[in-house]
């Protein structure tokens, strides 16, 4: 991110590739974690899904020929949002903290590579494994429950996922910067993750929230990105008029990406001056 690290595109691609492969290798070095991740994610899903089943009339709990109920699909996509959002908080955000704790942060920062590219390599690895986990749960759902998840508007869905990922990278970079400054990362990460679950309409529409809380939700960019993705997948009604929501979602994604880069750069420079980068 420093001027001395600004490189040509081919160099950036090389750095990104090296960072991605490094992260992939580290990931597969701990098979227990890989197995754990692939077991625990569907368990969380079934745990919540069974809890929600209590609110569905007994007659409609079984899968009909028309596919799953909208309620179930709503919840399923909410769960996907949670998996993806955790990328920002626990993946990209925690990458710097992990290097700090394992004592390799100095090497990481001294490498003749763009810092953001190194962090993006981690994001790419997590995006790959998240996609595998989501596909695996979708398949499991089909095989076990006979529920086929369908997407109403695949083009819009891909576009909205793209915007969501851009904002996740931005937010992740901000969180990564935060770990340089604030060492009690776990508590902050948990608070942000729980806040996301409640206030952004990830698991239930914000209309369920009391009026004053709803205003707060509408100030969070992720609320619109979640809403757009769900609209693309299920055709649910939008919070804002359609064209306005597209504009807000694009602005939110670009704004968060820019904010993330700027914030990370500023925090890193500040920590470099104060000598607090490697203090854990």
């Amino acid at each position: 991110m420093n001027s001395r690290n600004i490189s040509c595109p081919s160099r950036l691609i090389e750095e990104f590739k090296a960072s991605f492969l490094k992260d992939l290798r580290s990931y597969f070095r701990y098979p227990a974690w890989v197995i754990g991740e692939f077991l625990s994610t569907p368990l969380w899903f079934f745990f919540f899904a069974l809890g929600v089943t209590l609110f569905v009339p007994a007659a409609s709990a079984a899968t009909s020929e028309r596919g799953p109920s909208t309620g179930f699909s709503y919840f399923f996509f909410g769960f996907i949002f949670l998996i993806l959002f955790s990328t920002s908080v626990w993946g990209v955000g925690q990458s710097v903290r992990n290097e700090q704790e394992s004592g390799t942060l100095e090497q990481f920062f001294l490498a003749p590579a763009n810092r953001a590219t190194l962090i993006l390599g981690r994001w790419a690895r997590i995006f790959l494994t998240d996609s595998l986990i989501i596909s695996y749960i979708t398949l499991l759902l089909y095989l076990v429950g006979g529920i086929a998840v369908t997407i109403l508007n695949p083009t819009l869905f891909l576009l909205s996922i793209g915007l969501y990922e851009l904002s996740l990278i931005g937010f992740g970079l901000f969180m990564a910067g935060l770990t340089v400054r604030i060492k009690a990362y776990n508590s902050i990460g948990n608070a942000i993750f729980f806040g996301y679950m409640i206030f952004t309409g990830a698991l239930f529409p914000i209309a369920v929230l009391p009026q004053p809380v709803r205003y707060f939700s509408m100030l969070i960019p992720f609320t619109y990105l979640n809403d757009l993705m769900r609209h693309a997948a299920l055709g649910t009604s939008m919070i804002l008029p359609e064209s306005l929501e597209y504009i807000v979602a694009i602005l939110a994604a670009v704004g968060m990406l820019t904010f993330g880069f700027v914030a990370f750069n500023m925090i890193e420079e500040n920590a470099r001056v104060k000598g607090s980068i490697a203090t854990s």
């Binding site: 077991l39 368990l43 745990f47 007994a58 109920s69 239930f204 369920v208």
Partner: protein, 269 residues
Amino acid sequence: MQALAAIFWKGLRHHMRYPGEFVIFLMLPFLFTFLILGMGTAIAGNNASAYFAARTGTTNIVIYEILGGAVWMTSWVVVEDVGTAIRDEQIKGTLEQNFLAPVRRFTLLVGLSLTDVVITSAIFLLVVGVSVAVVLPSSFVTIIPAFLALLLGLIPLFGIGFLFAGFVVRFKEPYIFIQIVNLVFATLTGTYYPVTLLPYWVQLLSGVLPQTYVIDDMRRIVLANQTLVNLYGSIFILLALALAYPILGYAVFRRIERKASVTGEFSKY
């Protein structure tokens, strides 16, 4: 007794040094209850409590879910504390000192468990006590027999903790192991739904877990005004589990520990 008291106070001091963890355990039952209630309301709308009652027999969604959530948190604390205690000492480099101290291993594990009795009781009384006092004040006294059911259920849970302590010595990687175990417990014991929703063969697995009976008994006591005497069947099962699990858990722990002493497993990371 002196050694037991020392281990107990050491564990308690450790918990008091990290109050954030305790606050998280207090918040999680409310958070999960709120999430499930929010999702349920979004799906069922105004009929949410009617559909809920048709499946559970009560319209009091908050208390039903909070009771399950509170028991889940207590089992989380026990599995995490007792299960990872040995591994934590190993990582900190203090395991040898602990094992060289003139204290029996059983005393060490029981001391840790006693600390958890205090912590889990505090979680239960704060989470369930406050919820019942606010939502269902007329049933406030029922939290006493509900608490007794929890205390009885803690004994087999400590046995399960001993079992995990042994597995962790053998297989390392305690945190991912504990995460999965906690999720399996939450799913199988009917934390947020009756276990009858699960497939029959899964219900058989639920039947060997003490939390299944504790959660069900608590709901019957607080929401259906039943007494511990009425629930003698499940109390009897809990007593049997309270005998079986500690014996089994300690036997497995000792076996793995003896093997680890020979192979030098303790000093490995």
